[in-house]
């Protein structure tokens, strides 16, 4: 007969083992992708799959020869940082005014903004494509920055709004009595207090635009194509390409994966529009 303490210990061990098992299964595809990126193409294709092999960096060198990885990576960086920056410039003042000068319309304006996210992108694919063609924006980074700013703006406004709502109004009033203009209030008082919230908004916007794959696949061809499109170009097989696919995928995902790991706690509020804390 087990004592109460022993049952509890057994329970912890069992649940812990189960937890680890589930986590390893969920993570396995990523682990396997990274592992395969260090194999030769023959090893990558071999059946049964090999767990032990001599690692090689050839794939990472070769994918650079096939198509310049750095061009695509640079496009991803420019487009995600550019759209996030412009998005913040638009979203912070809007959220400020909604959080601190709340009116009857604020709630409905917020919900309306969110409802623009309900609009499926295919619904406007044709006109956007034709407009982009007319304005020479097809396959340009500027075009993608415009789109990403617009699709992320509602989320950014909503998220910053929920952070600003938690700041006591007294603090701002004190600054106001000292004769601060709204701009000074934002820059000197609000931004320092809400650093954490703004940082996670920035992170979320970066992740969403880095991984966006509807507009990037439809509106870019080569010169402005980001990493999502580079990876998609591996969808038509050319002989043995598993290891190279893995290498390019690993490179494309690594930065955002690390970002995500570091910021998972802050991201929850953003991802749930502040509804889960």
């Amino acid at each position: 007969m087990l004592t109460l303490k022993q049952t509890r210990q057994l329970r912890t061990v069992l649940l812990g083992t189960l937890g680890w098992l589930v986590a390893l299964v969920v993570f396995f595809p990523i682990f396997w992708m990274i592992l395969t990126s260090f194999k030769t193409e023959i090893e990558a294709f071999s059946s049964p799959p090999q767990l032990f092999f001599t690692p090689t960096l050839d794939n990472y060198i070769e994918i650079n020869g096939r198509s310049s990885y750095l061009t695509y990576a640079w496009n991803s960086v420019v487009v995600s940082f550019g759209s996030t920056f412009i998005g913040m410039l638009l979203a912070v003042p809007a959220a400020y005014s909604m959080a601190f000068f709340e009116t009857k319309r604020t709630k409905s304006t917020l919900l309306w903004m969110l409802s623009t996210k309900m609009l499926p992108p295919v619904g406007v694919l044709v006109p956007i494509y034709l407009l982009f063609k007319d304005f020479g924006l097809l396959d340009t980074r500027t075009g993608l920055v415009i789109i990403y700013t617009l699709i992320n703006l509602p989320i950014m406004v909503w998220m910053i709004y929920t952070y600003f709502k938690e700041i006591p109004k007294d603090i701002l009033e004190a600054a106001r009595l000292d004769g601060a203009t709204p701009m000074q209030e934002i820059v000197r008082v609000l931004l320092p207090i809400s650093k954490g919230g703004l940082a996670s908004t920035v992170l979320l916007a970066l992740i969403l635009s880095w991984n966006e794959a509807f507009w990037s696949l439809n509106l870019t061809a080569s010169s402005a194509a980001p990493l999502t499109a580079l990876v998609a170009s591996y969808s038509s097989p050319e002989g043995l390409f598993w290891a190279k696919l893995s290498a390019v995928s690993t490179l494309a995902c690594a930065p955002i994966l690390i970002f995500g790991w570091l910021s998972q706690k802050q991201l929850v509020r953003g991802l749930s529009f502040g509804a889960v804390k």
Binding site: V13, L15, G16, G19, V22, A23, V26, F27, P29, I30, W32, S47, P48, P49, P93, A94, S97, F100, F101, T103, T109, L111, M113, T116, K117, M118, L119, P120, P121, V122, G123, L125, V126, P127, L150, E173, R176, L177, P182, A213, F214, L217, T228, V231, Y234, S235, L245, S246, S249, A252, C253, L257, F259, G260, Q264, L267, L271, S272, F273, V276
Partner: protein, 314 residues
Amino acid sequence: MSISNLQVDKATGAEGSALSVKSQNRQKSRISLAMVSPSVLVLLVWMIVPLAMTIYFSLIRYNLLYPGDEPFVGLENYYYFLTDEGFAAGAFNTLYLVLAVLVISVVFGVLIAVLVDNEFWGRGIVRVLLISPFFIMPTVSALVWKNLLLHPVSGVFAAVWRFFGAQPIDWFAQYPMGAIIMIVSWQWVPFAVLLLMTAMQSLDQEQKDAARLDGAGPLAIFWHITLPHLMRPIAVVIMIETIFLLSIFAEIFTTTGGGPGYATTNLAFLIYTQALLQFDVGMASAGGLIAVIIANIAAFILIRLIGKNLTDKP
């Protein structure tokens, strides 16, 4: 959307004389209006201009391959789109994909969140591993699953099947939609886990202890305490995942190309093939509007069902 008469009287402080407060308020209201309007304006343009164009295109015969001939045809495009065999398949596949992934992510999300809520060694790492797939870009998840895991010859699944003496499955030939659902679920279960496991942390521990003292078993506690507590975050998960799942595109684009036949064509992909592969702008626009209408119906139902959960802060 008119926000011209913002009233800010309540928001500003009551300090100073009545007169200066009033003029201050007027200035404040102007400034705050100036701060909201850029965001509202760009979103308004983003919503109205393309939508108006889609409506217009949907009413004319417009194919990029035959320029110059664009007669008004009324609802002809809608008729052809709705009676096309692709539409029935696309509408069915869209709903099937959304519902299947929603059910899978809520069920597994809750189970995993409850599991990792227990204290055990290395829980922090387990959580990080569990949410990782959410950060992987769709094109990568799709191609890694298709080529490294589900491949009928060299894939890991095939090796596991052979290990147990079974005939490996050619997923994309035999169960194409099942394969897509698997990939998309792998991306979205972690999202549910992330939200639900955060919500678990705010569960009242004393309530659970009290129930346990009263002799409630783990199942009863789960059913009467944990699950009700998770209803709100589950509503959030359903809401947000629906938005994204209705327009799944990259996973289909990079794996099956909508096939075999229409087996994995959802509405997003169907409209894409009509617009950018067949250059039939008129019909693609009609399809686009129908997709918008379907999304609005789904959003309306969702907001009626769970929207209250989202806006009323507890």
